[in-house]
Amino acid sequence: MSQIQERYVLTSSQKMMVFILSMSLYGLSNMITELVPSAYLGPIEFSIEYFAFIPLTLCMLFHPLYAAVGAALGEVIFGEIMLGQFGGFGELEKFISFSLAMYIAGSLVKDPRNRKQVGIAAITGVIIHQFISMMVDIGKVWIGVEELEAVPGLAESIVVIEGFAFLNDVLFSGILFALLPTLYLVPRLYGKIEPLLGMKPRDNTMKFSTGEIVTPRLIVGGIVLALLSFFFEFLSETDFNVEWEADFGENFMWVSIGVSAVIAILTVILMVTRKGKNTKEGMDERKVQ
């Protein structure tokens, strides 16, 4: 019953079409970019980071959620599993950040024929994605190195390296492989590709269910603010300020207590799930037999 009510948005098979389309196209492009070598000019990297224009275009033309999730899954399947480099948890982080960024970019566009909107959304998508991956990379060193502040130079250098890589990716890959092709493709494909999937083109009166409660602008603002706050918190902790040093010992104690609490909780969860799984397994087998 609920399907009939939601029908004016997209039917489940149309969602699946968008999902499959975006997955196979972005997956294919990922395979190509994985195989192309990158060139370095000093610390500046000239490489095809990714063909971000494909998911961006599809997110702007179709329902952004299904196109974004499809593209992220396509990257994991084609670019990682099929090339034999599936990385477990690392892929989860990529999956979440990429689909989030593409979804936000897609829902920023209300009218795909408006070039200004398309351009701003495309570059915003790339910036969000690169920003999240930069924060994750910095966070990895932060968590991975014990007493990061005690090691001279490391905290600053990781921030500088990652910040530089972020700018490099946004300015080089972001403009060449996301902004320009998206601006070229979206107006051309608009109205042509939708009938092939049996749906109407997106018009500017279209609204998304979540869009009514939480506007994309709010999400973007919230995420950027949250990340910025984390970033500044991090900067102040790693010390650029001598006065804070006294506080630091105490803070660090809390961090280590927090970490040990997380480990304790994790081990408990691990044990419980192990037990749960084993018993469930036994029951399942009995049922099947």
């Binding site: 499959i20 014990e146 192990r274 087998e285």
Partner: protein, 273 residues
């Protein structure tokens, strides 16, 4: 450099397809490949996550030795391992240089070495676990753990469609080259030719988007006819599909051994450091 040569040899379209099937189905005879996917997931859950929070060098060293042995058992391809080492060394070295630039000294090396060791434990664990699972096993395992049926469908769909997708892309690319005009001069460091090829590579997606959307529609219509949307997350269908997944004796042995090893490692590491 020998590996780079090998990499370039593999770049022809046919070769890529063969290589893909090889990485997917190449090693199904190893000890790890015979384990249940859930066993491997549980093992990976610890070795892929715990190293971040362990700062004890003895424990890390012991875990590293364990994953290296696992990798040898899994018989991972040397190319992947080589790429991994290169990446790890490159990142570590780069950080070290930058840290020295900001006033670090020799004491910077130790934390960086530990960080590199953590990263290599995690990546070796994931390589040995995931290269020893063929795609069916991985998707069955994911389905069993509770990942939606669409994901495992997508994995099989990708393996089925990839050869024809690559071929179609290749044809479009070649026809763009045939009708277009390559730059007469290569330019400094071939930049003109590179820019030309990259541009064609992107333009080729325009026709491909249209044809793939037709294909996606056909696929979904076929799925509808078969009633697959109903079947994806139906518990009864799942039970029949996953009936072959069972914990055997070797799964229990493997998990028990890993657990004992890790516990003794922790006791040893905490007592002697």
């Amino acid at each position: 450099m020998e590996y780079r040569q090998k990499l370039f040899d593999k770049l022809s379209v046919e070769q890529v397809k063969i290589e893909l099937l090889n990485t997917a189905y190449g090693n199904d005879q190893t000890f790890l490949a015979k384990l249940d996917p859930r066993t491997l997931f549980i093992w990976y859950l610890f070795f892929g996550f715990a190293p971040w929070f362990i700062h004890n060098q003895a424990i890390l060293l012991g875990m590293f030795a364990f994953v290296v042995v696992m990798m040898l058992i899994a018989r991972s391809s040397p190319l992947i391992i080589f790429i991994l080492c290169l990446g790890l060394l490159g990142q570590g070295g780069y950080l070290l240089l930058a840290a020295w630039f900001f006033g670090g000294d020799l004491s910077t090396i130790m934390p960086l070495l530990i960080l590199t060791m953590k990263l290599s434990i995690i990546s070796l664990a994931s390589i040995s676990v995931f290269t020893s699972m063929d795609p069916e096993k991985l998707s069955d395992g994911l389905l069993k753990v509770g990942v939606p049926g669409q994901v495992s469908f997508s994995i099989s769909y990708a393996y089925r469609m990839l050869p024809s997708l690559i071929e179609e892309y290749h044809h479009v690319f070649l026809s763009f080259r045939l009708r277009g005009k390559a730059p007469e001069k290569h330019g400094i460091l071939y930049w003109r030719s590179i820019a030309y090829f990259v541009k064609i590579a992107m333009l080729s997606f325009y026709p491909l988007m249209l044809s793939t959307s037709k294909r996606a529609r056909t696929t979904v219509e076929a799925l509808e006819t078969k009633g697959s949307f109903f079947a994806f997350n139906n518990p009864k269908v799942k039970a029949i599909k996953l009936a072959h997944l069972t914990f055997r004796q070797r799964d229990y042995w493997f998990l028990t051994f890993s657990l004992l090893y890790v516990i003794s490692l922790f006791i040893f590491g905490i007592l002697y450091s």
